[in-house]
Symmetry: C2
Subunit: 497 residues, 2 copies
């Protein structure tokens, strides 16, 4: 189980390998025996649980409730919404039988051909279809609206190339599915939930994001508008971290969900859906971590403070144990998750490296000299700097330090992100700049054809048409860098995960 830190590839050598190494060595996740499906290990899952809990609280504060819909979707449901089927029906896991039987040759089990399903079932790639089929029975009148439901679930998309957390066949996510009486209310909901995602990314994950609307090419299959939060990784690639869709009446029409409005007329229901997934783990890891391992925002760190004793004999250890016990109790009372690691089968140096690798935000060390002086050595993971602090009031000191680290890693990520936002005027300039990575703000004529051409020639996509301005003139009209046609404003290009 010993993890050799020296095996962690440096970011500058191979960013992609560094990421893979880190996910494995920090015990976050690993590949399973099933192609493209991951095992989320306890340490990785503990981070995901914090993400879940905090997001769930935010959903509830904005009036949403949770529910649960079936894992399997009848094949025919997917074809109801014309665009949706194009986007999702193709690469998915298909259940065709419901029984195995003993193999006639006595070796294992085989599929029982007599247990073939009349209609095949699909493992949900997303749940709009099954949910809107259910909503038909829930909605009769405007009094039944809005429905503000969220679901925490696993979904499956048969991806050809998978990477832990970033793109896996099965992943965990939440999907909100809301139903509204008016177009305006649904549009507001879609934008509101994007705001929740942006706030969560920035305040909880310490990941700055660009918020905006997708171009038609990048829209969710079946949506009228897709809103997105886009984060910037250290290698200059963008990571779409959450999306919120205004679905119009498309799914209501596909599943015949009508209601009697206040004017006593039948009308189709307006819809949104929005989701974030275990992909957020990838954003978290790639935004903050360094060549020593994970750097975690304190708000999401499973262990916020680790305490390590250094001692020559049992007598010293006992004295340190005694001193630390009160400290641990006080941290817990303050709601700070703390681990006192006085296991004797690992040397302190090994422990230090391991907790750095795991991204524990604050490390406290007490040795013989500290015991004498009533001090501890405090190391903060984000800067790796150490200082010696009196034990008197150290709990409050650490609490403030955790806040400071949370803010510092956000500011650091923000500044790194901002230096990676540049404007270009010409397509040549664009081609040159896109090679260097980052978000490139450029004029585009608004057509799918031009977007497609740019993608083919440069591998860059329009991440979004941003809500906010990032560089001077973002919102000023201009001319498309490719075609010279009029452009309403600059849009955000990047190569993306």
């Amino acid at each position: 189980m010993a993890k050799e830190l020296k095996d962690l590839t440096k970011r500058s050598e191979n960013y992609s390998q560094w990421y893979n190494d880190l996910v494995i060595k920090a015990d976050l996740a690993e590949q399973s025996a099933v192609r493209g499906c991951m095992v989320i290990k306890p340490y990785g899952y503990a981070i995901w649980e914090k993400i879940q809990r905090q997001l769930d609280d935010m959903f509830k504060e904005t009036g949403h409730v949770n529910a649960y819909f079936p894992l399997l979707i009848p094949k025919s449901f997917l074809s109801r919404e014309a665009e949706h089927v194009e986007g999702f029906a193709k690469e998915c896991a298909v259940v065709t039988h419901h029984r195995l039987k003993n193999s006639p040759d006595g070796k294992g089990v085989i599929v029982d051909p007599e247990a073939k399903l009349e209609e095949e079932l699909i493992i949900r790639p997303t749940s709009e279809t099954i949910i809107w089929n259910t909503y038909r029975n829930w909605i009769n009148s405007y009094r039944d609206l809005p429905i503000l439901v969220n679901q925490w679930a696993n979904v499956m998309r048969w991806e050809m190339r998978t990477r832990l957390f970033l793109r896996t066949a099965e992943f965990l996510w939440q999907e909100g599915h809301t139903a509204h009486a008016t177009r305006q209310e649904a549009e507001e909901e879609a934008v509101r939930m994007l705001g929740v995602y942006a706030e969560f990314a920035e305040k909880h994950m310490a990941v700055p994001v660009i918020t905006g609307v997708k171009s038609a090419n990048e829209r969710f299959a079946g949506a009228l508008d897709t809103y997105t939060i886009e984060a910037m990784m250290q290698d200059g690639k963008a990571l779409q971290s959450g999306t919120s869709h205004f679905l119009g009446q498309n799914f209501a029409k596909a599943f015949d969900v009508q209601f009697v409005n206040k004017e006593n007329k039948m009308e189709y229901v307006w819809a949104t859906s929005w989701g974030v997934s275990t992909r957020l783990m990838g954003a978290l890891i790639m935004t903050h971590s360094d060549d020593n391992g994970l750097v975690l925002p304190p708000v999401l760190a499973p262990i916020q403070v680790v305490i390590v004793p250094i001692y020559k004999n049992d007598e010293q250890l006992n004295l340190i144990n005694e001193k630390v016990a009160g400290m641990v109790a006080k941290f817990k009372k303050m709601g700070i998750s703390v681990k006192y690691d006085n296991t004797d089968n690992k040397r302190p140096g090994f422990k230090f490296a391991d907790y750095e690798l795991k991204g524990v935000p604050v490390r406290l060390v007490m040795g013989a000299r500290d015991l004498e002086n009533n001090t501890m050595e405090v190391m903060r993971r984000d800067t790796l700097t150490k200082e010696t602090v009196s034990c008197e009031g150290i709990e409050e000191y650490v609490q403030n330090l955790l806040d400071e680290i949370q803010e510092n890693i956000y500011q650091k990520a923000l500044s790194a992100r901002n230096t990676r936002i540049r404007s270009v005027e010409t397509y040549d300039e664009f081609k040159e700049e896109i090679e260097k990575g980052g978000f490139i703000m450029a004029h585009w004529d608004g057509t799918p054809e031009t977007e497609e051409k740019i993608k083919e020639e440069t591998k860059a996509t329009i991440r979004c048409i941003p809500f906010d301005t990032f560089v001077e003139g973002d919102k000023t009209p201009g001319t498309c860098m490719v075609t010279g046609k009029p452009s309403e404003c600059r849009v955000v290009f990047a190569r993306a995960y």
Copy 2:
């Protein structure tokens, strides 16, 4: 959306129909478009979330951590453990393809025959196989043990006859999977977790349970011992509510999971697994509820207190609103979930019936006279009794009342359960008593054959060999009521869900 209470079948008329009606009318769950799979509606899911949260806290207090393993299991894994495959491989959802394509006739999509999987994948009916295949890489030495992991997940068993919550094709559950260096430690873990389940059932759900060990016939497929908690429903049928399995080294051998023990020798790892599911919702509903609807233990009630105003005009309503606002704030501060329902589109009588149906433990009503007298009418759902209480200190009064209700419904269920436990001496007596329902304590010779005969002739199964004694002489040896052969102690028989 108006729910007609009069449509709720009476328990005495048709218990089974009463249950189905209640699940639907209380907005807990409903059938989905996919055979045997349910939709858990927001109100039902809110109860499940409380169950989850509270159980999860108990798992963590006993040293467990959460993780996540794949939904899909390679078909061949199931055959590795000989008994396991017999128990689980037969009725399950089989994924055979990974792509759909447009139908040549232009109507919808069909399975793409070219996307056939080399090896079929099974949607997990339980995860021992995929988890022990994973543990092989996690365990080298006794230092890596114990592994105390739990997973919250959906599982699927292709049941022919389904009932909401009690038996569904897909259900939600948690499955603990632990790995240990010694037989003793694993056995202790299996018993410890059964104790956690029993405590949860009795303290949180207010459902008294009999704890014990299963006979060989009723054992989990692949276990050496299965421990169980058995609850008694109001119709005299037992409901197995949670099980904990001592798996010996069966799965370690099937997946070759060995470790170097303290004596530096290779040894197979010892295992347990344990689970409870959304079936607990069925136990909760059927133990406490009555002909007016749900009765929920306050600890698990999504809304613990509902406040309803009765007013003749806006002026009165405004005065009540004002008075209630402070109360609501105080309840929230005390951690009591409260809903103030001053919506004006439903009459108070409708609201009363609806909150009774939903099992809200305490209802507070304020009318014009109360406003004058500074009082409220307090109704408790368990007894349906009302009294008038001063607003002064009403929050503390309600807090105590919630505790009292929690205790009262447990005592009521306990006494109902206890009157349903009887001893019998002869098989004739047994056949007569089993018709009346309840737990029947009887002597049995310990053979699967006798157990099978009893099951065939009476539809009763051995629920468990109990840990505790329930009637005098339970633990005294005797002779089997069927064969006259020696019996070590009385065992618990019942007809069961």
